[in-house]
């Protein structure tokens, strides 16, 4: 009878330990699944970015094949753009001056026409 009681106690303890282990295992399993999902998401993003880069490589100027060359080209473009913006400002100013000149000349010619009755 005493032996039976020991066995029952042992079984109860074993079951309790198994239950705790099971819970711990479930936690680990859930963490692993989460990490796996994150890894899969990162893999998918990397693959998507790679495809985008591949597509961009078709449209960017020749010679731009990596990040460093892209950065160098970017610097060149920034300089060129800055010069072009200066040129645009000058062109706009010149155009506005021409417009003013044209208006003045139109008025002058109109008054000349009236004065001369042509």
């Amino acid at each position: 009878m005493k032996l039976t009681s020991y066995f029952i106690t042992a079984v109860t303890v074993s079951l309790s330990l198994a239950s705790v282990s099971c819970k711990d295992f479930q936690d680990i399993q859930s963490q692993r699944n989460e990490a796996k999902a994150k890894l899969e998401a990162m893999t998918a993003e990397i693959s998507e970015i790679d495809q985008k880069i591949l597509a961009l490589k078709q449209v960017v100027p020749q010679g731009v094949v990596s990040e460093s060359t892209a950065l160098k080209q970017g610097e060149k473009y920034e300089t060129a753009l800055s010069l072009l913006e200066e040129e645009l400002t000058k062109t706009i100013k010149h155009y506005q001056e021409s417009e003013v000149k044209l208006k003045a000349l139109e008025q002058e010619t109109e008054s000349l026409r009236k004065l001369s009755n042509f």
Binding site: F7, L15, S21, L39, L88, T91
Partner: protein
Amino acid sequence: MKNFIALLLFCTAFGGWYLYQKHDSAQKELVEISKSSSAYEQTLTARRSELQAFVKVLELQKKIQSTQADILGIKEKDGKIKDDISKLVTERARIVSKTRQSMIGMILPELTLTDGRKLAQVKILKADDSGLSVSLPVGVLKILPSELPDDMQQRLHYSK
């Protein structure tokens, strides 16, 4: 009864061992995934940065093309304005020339110049940008535009 308890103990022990194995393998897998995850994160950061560099190049390229197109457009409009100016200048010159030509041969009984000189019986012989050539009873005289009175300057389109 004893056999049943023994079986139960065996099952419990086996279950525990099985769970331990599973737990161990899951933990090892988790550690490996964590290591890979760090490497993947680095790769992802590098790829994002690369993508940004490419996108920036493309954006700048488009901006340059758009600015060049703007400049060309404005230059084209400026060219048209210059053509209009050129036409107006030609028309203006034609009107001025016609007006001056119409006055050739005209005789002015009296003409007072800006320096006070008074001229009589002035016959206009020639009128151009450099002034008037007139004949007087005493001879021929060149009158500069600035020497003409205001009304004559206006009539002959000598701008001040």
